[in-house]
């Protein structure tokens, strides 16, 4: 039962080792978006790819237990709302007042890191939902 879903043992072992690293790398890219290359979108795609890899290796049940499709859609909507709220602050106020002092620090650049985080949640969950929708559909058909 345990070995039926997903790919072979080798793939599973490698995945166990790398998935966490990929996730951390994605989060790093998101948080460093205003200092070095990267940003919300690229980091979000990396996070989504981490879940995609887990799903390809272990089969869909394992992953869906942790992060179901409904939860993903909910999170994507929430992240989009969050980004809109941040944008609203930019629309109504001057938008770039906070944390202006420390340059080249992790907590600098006003709202940009928060925007990055919101975008990364949207992209990560959203692309995972898209992948799930496409994969589940082909499996139903087979």
């Amino acid at each position: 039962m345990k070995n039926n879903a997903g790919m072979t043992l080798i793939v599973k072992t490698i995945t166990r080792l790398t998935a966490g690293l990929i996730l951390i790398y994605g989060i790093y890219i998101v948080l460093q978006g205003h200092l070095s290359p990267g940003g919300g979108f690229a980091g979000g795609v990396i996070i989504a790819l981490c879940f995609v890899q887990l799903m390809l290796a272990f089969g869909k049940e394992e992953v869906l237990k942790k992060l179901s499709r409904k939860k993903c859609i909910f999170l994507a909507g929430l992240a989009a709302l969050l980004f809109l709220l941040l944008a609203l602050r930019g629309f109504l106020g001057s938008g770039n007042a906070a944390f202006k002092e420390g340059h080249f620090k992790l907590f600098s650049a006003g709202l940009i890191p928060f925007c990055d985080i919101a975008i990364s949640i949207l992209v990560g969950t959203g692309l995972f939902v898209i992948f799930l929708a496409l994969v589940l559909l082909t499996e139903v058909e087979e």
């Binding site: 859609i73 909507g77 989009a80 709302l81 809109l84 930019g90 629309f91 001057s94």
Partner: protein, 499 residues
């Protein structure tokens, strides 16, 4: 400065409602209906309010984040944009009222509502944008939603039509994007007024010609002008009825005609060659659309071809280029938005109550569906130009303007096409509402109240627009037409408003 603060809400409200609908789905019962009606109604009020504000100042500008234009993006509402905003939001509100009951024929209504609100955000974004690249991005928002909405029924025909539409639409977008890239390389700025300034300092060479061709192909594909029209009949007839109404009514006008006229008249500067191309394209669409429509038996397909024909009228009017012709074209644009969505809603009502769309299998519905019959008669008469109704006045203005400009032959063709239009709408009326009821048609469902309501209001607007043209519509149309006929004067207006 306070008045400008309403402009970004044209994008924020639909986006926020789309996101909210996705978060809550239908948890309180009919939550998405409630949100959508509230949002579209408030947008309608906002757009009317913006018209009010435009009376005192010619142009309202909002600078996002307080950055001055070459650095940031500015939103511009002038006469043309205000006119388009009213047209779009009015149509969408009435269609959404209709869709409350109609969309119960489909599953997962909240997805429909969410996509629809995103599409509305895209259309409003295109209209108020003052930045060329930003216009492209919102164009893509509206297009992607339209692709998905065409396939909303997930029947084989829907998917096929959506695929065709997606391929053509994204090809058009990529042409437009390449054009934007060339312009950026040439002048190194993206703000529309700024581009116009920079271009006026440079000689008119091969580059501008090439970019014009790219934009003409791109926006022409979006507007379904005749050599590029292949996707429209499929997409507009396969989509769910509220979607076809909005696609035919306002989407092709916003994505195609509004963007095209904004780019060519206000940014690149119109020249005699482009006007001639517009006249030829308009004529071709007018004639081909009408003659293809007359042989159709599927109701929605006939209306879709008729859209091509009427778009041809508008483009032809813009191509004449005199202020009167542009005014006529804009009035026809408004009228077409109203009566084409009305006719599509009628077709949807027929489909809702009888379950079929083929003209040969219908008949005698006039007594069974009195409201649909009466409103569709008004819509048909209006589109084919019967005197007191709105369509007559707009066609009359276009034809007078073309005679004034010396295009007598073209004016004659326009009159002939109008007669052909009358012919196929008479065919629709005869086959659907007169005669005997088809024997195989056993049960005819009652049409719900909300659907009747929105059809009646649309028909009422057709009549009012015809009767009240001079007192009510003339000032609005005049200020909208002024924006286009002032041409590259747009840039001075923008920079004056920025100070």
């Amino acid at each position: 400065m306070k008045t400008a603060n309403i402009i970004p809400f044209f994008v924020i409200i639909p986006l926020a409602s789309a996101f909210l609908i996705t978060v809550f789905k239908n948890r309180p019962k009919n939550f998405s209906d409630f949100v959508v009606i509230l949002a579209t109604f408030s947008l309608l009020l906002l757009s009317l309010n913006s018209l009010q504000l435009l009376n005192s100042s010619k142009m309202i500008i909002y600078k996002i984040g307080g950055w001055l234009p070459p650095l940031g993006i500015c939103l511009v509402v002038d006469g043309l944009a205000g006119f388009m905003l009213v047209t779009v939001n009015l149509t969408v509100f009435l269609v959404m009222v209709y869709a409350i009951r109609y969309m119960q024929l489909y599953t997962d209504k909240w997805k429909f509502h969410s996509l629809f609100m995103l599409m509305l955000a895209g259309m409003n974004g295109i209209i108020i944008s003052g930045d060329l690249f930003n216009l492209y991005v919102f164009l893509e928002v509206a297009s992607i939603c339209a692709y998905a909405l065409v396939a909303f029924g997930t029947e084989p025909e829907d998917l096929e039509a959506a695929f065709k539409y997606t391929i053509m639409g994204s090809l058009a977008s990529l042409f437009i994007l390449l054009g934007i890239g060339l312009i950026y390389c040439y002048v190194s700025t993206l703000n529309m007024a700024d581009i116009s300034f920079a271009l006026s300092a440079k000689p008119n060479g091969a580059l501008i010609g090439f970019v014009s061709v790219l934009f003409l192909a791109g926006f022409g594909l979006k507007a379904a002008l005749v050599p590029f029209h292949a996707w429209l009949p499929d997409a507009h007839s396969s989509a769910p009825t509220p979607v076809s109404a909005v696609l035919s009514g306002v989407l092709i006008k916003t994505l195609g005609i509004y963007a095209l006229s904004r780019v060519f008249f206000n940014i690149l500067g119109i020249s005699g060659n482009i006007l001639l191309v517009l006249i030829v394209l308009g004529m071709l669409s007018m004639v081909a659309g009408a003659f293809l429509a007359i042989v159709q038996t599927d109701v929605k397909r006939m209306f879709a071809y008729s859209s091509i024909s009427q778009i041809g009228y508008i483009i032809f009017a813009f191509g004449i280029g005199t202020p009167l012709a542009i005014l006529g074209g804009l009035f026809h644009l408004f009228n077409h938005a109203i009566f084409k969505s009305l006719l599509f809603l009628n077709a949807g009502a027929i489909e809702y109550s009888t379950g079929r769309r083929d003209l040969r299998k219908l008949g005698g519905l006039g007594s069974k569906l009195p409201v649909t019959g009466a409103t569709s008669l008004l819509g048909s008469m209006s589109i084919s130009g019967i005197p007191p109704l709105s369509g007559f006045w707009s066609k009359l203005i276009i034809i007078i303007a073309s005679v004034q400009a010396g295009y007598i032959g073209f004016a004659f063709i326009a009159v002939l096409v109008s007669i052909v239009t009358l012919a196929y709408y008479l065919k629709f009326q005869t086959f659907a509402f007169l005669g005997k009821v088809d024997e195989t048609l056993t049960k005819i469902k009652e049409i719900p109240m909300t659907m009747k309501l929105s059809m009646v209001i649309l028909a009422g607007i057709c009549v009012v627009a015809g009767l009240m043209l001079v007192p009510l519509f003339r000032p609005i149309l005049k200020s909208a037409a002024d924006v286009l006929s002032s041409g590259t004067g747009y840039r001075y207006a923008v920079f004056e408003a920025l100070k």
